[in-house]
């Protein structure tokens, strides 16, 4: 039924991707974060962001007919519906009202005859009937009069689905990670609903990270990787592991560095984490155990939202945390940023501009800030005890040379630096603390390729020369593979596997999908 082939210009977020969905088919769309899934769906829906950035290349066909969708409204007219990841529902309205929002059925009355269509009376009975029919179709036994805010989270998803199928002439329905917030039994019901809808001849695009669900529900799969089409497979003719490696693997990515070293299980520990819980919105950690050997570079990978970023933020006391953390044999008090810093922990934050820097202050002030506050360095003699500009400038000069920070002078405000140079200033600030243990969170996010390599090389050098233990959290598996000794994959707030950098893409893919990997755990 649909024959979609498009390219999306300029930045080449999508390059020559095709997607075909037959009527009555459940088609899974797989890919890592940033693989281009959202962009593809935005094109399909004619989201304004696409038009504003210069449109797209390629063609969209619906029912064999060439269409050019310019707005979400047109998308709806063409029979395309979407179930959003974040619920687009009004909590204070009833189920019926939400289903019928902006498509209300109405009767004419005296006022509306005078003043126009907008003032017609709502036909509550017919609306209730329609809502009931839609709910029945997906087999959900909730009252159509219930307010949305009183429903359990899982059911909101079903209201969204009901709303989409209530639209007449729906031909294609997109589910954007519908199972992310659902419990397992709810997810099963959902998959059942999807199958029922498919049986009625509606095409379904199912976006997910969970490979197991794909195998269970989908008829066919399209895998995207780095904005390119990685593969098209019939579910029947593929395996979990093949999909996993398709999702993760990159061409030329097999050049795993030979930096990795082996640490025997009885090596001295730098840090031991037991039962760590961190309440970081969107990155919650739920009972994580992890051991970090002294002097190693440990990578922490995993998909976005699984909790990998919550680990350093929790241990550094930035977000509320619970659990046991031992640092070099000493108990670490949690929820106490100063305490963590004083014990020789340092962190380069993933939120460079928000948490990592004082944007309107100078490079030198940024570099020495933490050391001055925590260790009392760079302070002049009593009685005034002012900051010592001479010492600060000298330290800043050293650091800028060592890390190759490009700036006019150490007095330049960091807000005016490029992303890469800002990141180096962040690293310089952490190093000025003379830490024993360094967390580096998403060090290469938002910086260009040259700067990426510099940052990675710097981390490697620090580890080898200063024997600094480094835990690097990153969404870029390739990056982790290039310098880490071991890589822990975090799924749903726990470590699902600890792998060697040389482990296969298949293993990484499976681990990211939350499937226990036996094999080569380090």
């Amino acid at each position: 039924m649909n024959r979609i082939g498009k390219r999306y210009g300029e930045n080449q977020v999508l390059n020559d991707v095709s997607l075909r969905v037959k009527p009555g088919e459940i088609h899974a769309l797989l890919g890592e974060n940033g693989a281009g899934k959202s962009t593809l769906m935005n094109i399909l829906f004619g989201m304004p962001v696409i038009m504003e950035t210069g449109g797209y290349q390629g063609e969209v066909h619906i029912g064999g007919e060439l269409v050019h969708i310019k707005s979400p409204h047109q998308a709806i007219e063409h029979g395309i519906g979407m179930v959003h990841q974040e619920f687009m529902l009004i909590p204070g309205f009833s189920v019926t009202e939400n289903i019928k929002l902006n498509r209300e059925l109405s009767r004419a009355n005296i006022v509306s005859r005078l003043l126009g269509h907008d003032l017609e009376t709502l036909d509550t009975d017919r609306m209730t009937d329609d809502a009931r029919t839609a709910l029945d179709k997906i087999g959900i036994a909730i009252s159509e009069a219930e307010k949305i805010k009183n429903l359990p989270v899982g059911y909101m998803q079903f209201v969204e689905i009901a709303r989409e199928i209530d639209k007449s002439g729906i031909k294609l329905l997109v589910f954007d990670e519908p199972t992310a917030v659902l419990t397992e039994s709810e997810a099963d019901i959902l998959i059942g609903v999807m199958q029922a809808l498919a049986d009625e001849g509606i095409g379904i695009i199912f976006i997910t990270h969970r490979l197991a669900e794909v195998m269970k529900a989908a008829n066919s799969v399209t895998v995207l990787r780095d904005g390119k089409l990685a593969a098209y497979r019939e579910t029947g003719k593929t395996t979990l592991s093949e999909l996993a490696s398709l999702m993760v693997g990159r061409e030329g990515a097999e050049a795993v560095s030979d930096n990795a070293r082996d640490f025997p299980a009885d090596s001295p520990l730098a840090m031991e984490i037991e039962g760590l819980h961190v309440q970081m919105p969107g990155e919650a950690v739920r009972g994580l155990d992890l051991k970090v050997y002294d002097g190693e570079i440990l990578g922490i990978g995993g998909l976005a939202g699984q909790g990998k970023i919550g680990i350093p933020n929790g241990i550094m006391g930035i977000y509320p945390a619970q659990g046991q953390v031992t640092l070099f044999g000493e108990q670490l008090p949690l929820n106490n940023p100063k305490g963590s810093l004083k014990r020789g922990l340092a962190m380069v934050s993933e939120d460079r501009r928000g948490v990592g820097l004082l944007l309107d202050q100078s490079i030198e002030d940024n570099i020495v800030f933490s050391a001055m506050q925590i260790n009392g360095d760079f302070i002049g003699p009593a009685p005034l005890r002012l900051k010592s500009v001479r010492q600060i400038r000298q330290k800043a000069k050293e650091m800028m040379e060592e890390l190759d920070v490009r700036a006019t002078s150490s007095l330049q405000p960091v807000g005016t630096l490029s992303g890469g140079n800002q990141q180096k200033v962040c690293i310089a600030r952490a190093l000025t603390l003379n830490p024993r243990f360094l967390f580096v969170s998403e060090p290469t996010r938002g910086i260009d390729i040259g700067a990426k390599k510099l940052v990675i090389d710097t981390l490697l050098r620090l580890n080898r020369e200063l024997k600094l233990t480094i835990v690097m959290v990153s969404s870029e598996l390739l990056e982790l593979k290039s310098i880490c000794d071991r890589i822990a994959i975090v799924t749903e707030g726990r470590v699902s596997a600890i792998l060697k950098p040389s482990a296969s893409n298949e293993d990484f893919g499976l681990a990211m999908s939350g499937i226990e990997v036996k094999g080569e755990s380090a």
Binding site: P337, S349, L358, Q361, F369, Q373, K387
Partner: protein, 632 residues
């Protein structure tokens, strides 16, 4: 940041024009002292005298023409309106004709006439010197010799000097050269007699005039005596006045050759110099446009230019510039410390501390306590500041605890906390058990609204090491105190705590990640702001000369906030430099703007309206500079 070629050319042109203006202006000033100019000026003066002497004759002819026209109109049977118009028209024509005919003889002089003018002039000069002396003596006796450099009052009346005297109503033959001003000065009988004694000289002059112009009868001349004396007296005035009078009387017709142009140049010499100053400023601001704008930011650049424009206008309108600079310096010192109180608030992240009245009231309370104990002098000042600080610390701390609970809406809440606190203290001012009769209402209990600082702490800082230079009186002690406060803040900014506080204010997430207790830093900032405000109001009161309780402190927060914003601070970032620049610009523009506007719009009673317009205008402008950050 390079200055472009066109900028250089335009700036160069400005400098050239300025140079030309300076040359012409200086030449003109030099010519004022030259013999030739004096002669020409004397000619113009004598012309004015002659014109004054002929005035009654002109009026007489006009009257005749008017009567004739009336009769004619009656005869023709005009309607009332027609008649009125016709008569008015004929009067104008007659006046023109008379002046045209008579003025031909205005330039005529005789040695006797010139001698007579000189004699009368000398006599009048002697009289006015004596008058001035007597007035000074009177004022000294009254205890306010030579009114001190016009303090500050926005509504201070513009000098009621010579202009008023000239237009003073003139009675039959008693001359009142100086109107009875507000000081209550009345010339003594001896002086009046001296003036009477000048009558023979005046009569001699009139006689000489009648010799020259026989058509002026004694009768006509008798009524011309007063205008003639006024015209002669004008000889003692400055160049501009004589020249302007001469021109008004039509004296340029007696000038020959290049004289009219030269005289005009001499007349405008000073104004040309002011204009040259303007062009120099314009040239510099074009040449250094980019670096200066980068350093100061566009708004400050605009305000600075406006400020310089006001100085130029002040010169053009002959406003006493040194007095004005004195005024601005004093305002700078007076408001500086209060504006400084905004600084730690902004730096610690509570944005503009609109709850400043909380600190101000602590300062007021401590001062009232000092007065209650009849303290005076330095000890009163030190006591007031010390107790003020001690009172401000706990209140500021408590206020800080409140602000920590309402993060994100500090500005709104603090404004209303300030208002409520002021109102709360309106009750306390009535109830607190003060007994000193100097402070309480004459009837009943409670503190009065205004308290005079004279005799206790008034002017203590202002007059410390006060000196005068080029007519500018510098309140050294006041400015030194402001600098001291700024220095302390500057040093604090560079201490470990200060660095941490600024970080907590500019990026709380960063500060938290660096192990800093953000709430604690906000408490420090709020307390510091409150303490500085309490000291600030004491400095303000001693300089202003009065202390105002009750609703007095309510608007202070707005004034201080506007000043620091004008200085270039934002609601999340500020430096000591912004405090000084902002106070200077705000108060400078306010003080000068009012004077200049008063001079330009010559309507009395408008000054209060203009004051409100300008000060609120600046506040409004300043708040637009705060940016949208306050809403985040």
């Amino acid at each position: 940041m390079k200055t472009t070629v066109s900028q250089k050319i335009i700036a160069g042109l400005c400098f050239l024009v300025a140079l030309a203006l300076v040359v012409v202006g200086v030449w003109g000033l030099a010519l004022r002292q030259s013999e030739g100019t004096f002669k020409t000026l004397d000619k113009m003066c004598s012309y004015s005298v002659m014109s004054a002497a002929h005035q009654p004759l002109v009026e007489q002819r006009v009257k005749e023409a008017s009567n004739k026209a009336y009769d004619h109109a009656q005869a023709e049977g005009f309607s009332r309106n027609q008649r009125r118009d016709y008569v008015a028209q004929q009067e104008v024509l007659a006046r023109e004709e008379a002046l045209k005919e008579l003025s031909l003889g205005f330039g005529q002089t005789s040695p006797g006439y010139e001698e007579a003018i000189l004699a009368l002039d000398t006599g009048l000069q002697g009289y006015f010197e004596a008058l001035h002396k007597e007035e000074q003596a009177f004022l000294a006796a009254k205890g306010e010799a030579a009114p001190p450099p016009e303090i500050i009052q926005e509504d201070a009346a513009p000098e009621a000097g010579a202009d008023v005297a000239l237009e003073a109503p003139i009675t039959e033959d008693v001359i009142r050269p100086v109107i009875d001003d507000l000081t209550g000065f009345v010339p003594s009988a001896a002086l009046k007699a001296q003036l009477e004694g000048l009558t023979p000289q005046a009569d001699k002059l009139l006689e000489e005039i009648s010799l020259l112009h026989p058509q002026l009868t004694t009768e006509l001349l008798a009524s011309a005596r007063q205008p003639v004396m006024d015209a002669v007296r004008a000889k003692g005035d400055n160049f501009e006045t004589i020249y302007d009078r001469g021109i008004k009387a039509g004296a340029d017709s007696v000038l020959t050759g290049r004289d009219p142009l030269m005289m005009r140049m001499v007349r405008e010499a000073e104004n040309l110099l002011y204009l040259a100053f303007g062009f120099v400023v314009l040239g510099f601001s074009i040449y250094y446009f980019k670096p200066v704008v980068k350093r100061l930011g566009t708004p400050r650049f605009i305000i600075l230019l406006f400020f310089l424009l006001l100085i130029m206008l002040a010169g053009l309108y002959s406003i006493n510039v040194p007095n004005m600079i004195t005024n601005i310096l004093q305002r700078l010192g007076m408001y500086g410390v209060l504006v400084l109180a905004m600084l730690p608030g902004i730096q610690s992240g509570i944005s503009l501390n609109m709850g400043m009245p909380i600190g101000i009231i602590s300062g007021l309370l401590s001062t009232v306590i000092a007065l209650e104990m009849n303290m005076t002098g330095i000890s009163a000042l030190v006591f007031a500041m010390g107790v003020g600080i001690l009172l401000a610390i706990p209140v500021g701390y408590a206020y800080g605890l409140l602000l920590n609970r309402i993060k994100g809406s500090e500005m709104t809440v603090s404004t209303y906390v300030g208002f409520s606190y002021v109102s709360l203290f309106c009750i306390f001012w009535m109830l607190l058990p003060f007994r000193n009769a100097k402070l309480t209402w004459a009837l009943g209990s409670g503190l009065r609204v205004m308290h005079n600082m004279a005799g206790n702490i008034g002017g203590l800082l202002d007059n410390f090491l006060r000196f005068e230079v080029l007519g500018v009186s510098v309140p050294t002690g006041l400015l030194l105190f402001l600098l001291l406060c700024c220095l302390i803040m500057y040093l604090f900014e560079r201490s470990r705590k200060g660095v941490a506080m600024i970080a907590a204010g500019s990026n709380p997430a960063f500060a938290k990640a660096s192990g800093i207790n953000v709430d604690h830093m906000r408490l420090i900032g709020t307390t510091l702001s409150t303490v500085i405000a309490s000291v600030g109001i004491i400095v303000y009161s001693q300089s202003f000369g009065f202390m105002s309780l009750y609703m007095g402190p309510q608007q202070m927060g707005f004034i201080a906030a506007s000043a620091i914003l004008i200085g270039g601070a934002t609601v999340s970032k500020a430096k000591v430099f912004h405090v000084i620049l902002g106070t200077f610009l705000f108060q400078g523009v306010l003080a000068m703007g009012i004077q200049v506007a008063n001079a330009m719009i010559d309507v009395s009673g408008l000054s209060e309206v203009i004051r409100i317009l300008i000060s609120n205008g600046i506040i409004l402008y300043a708040l637009t500079q705060a940016g949208g950050k306050g809403r985040e």
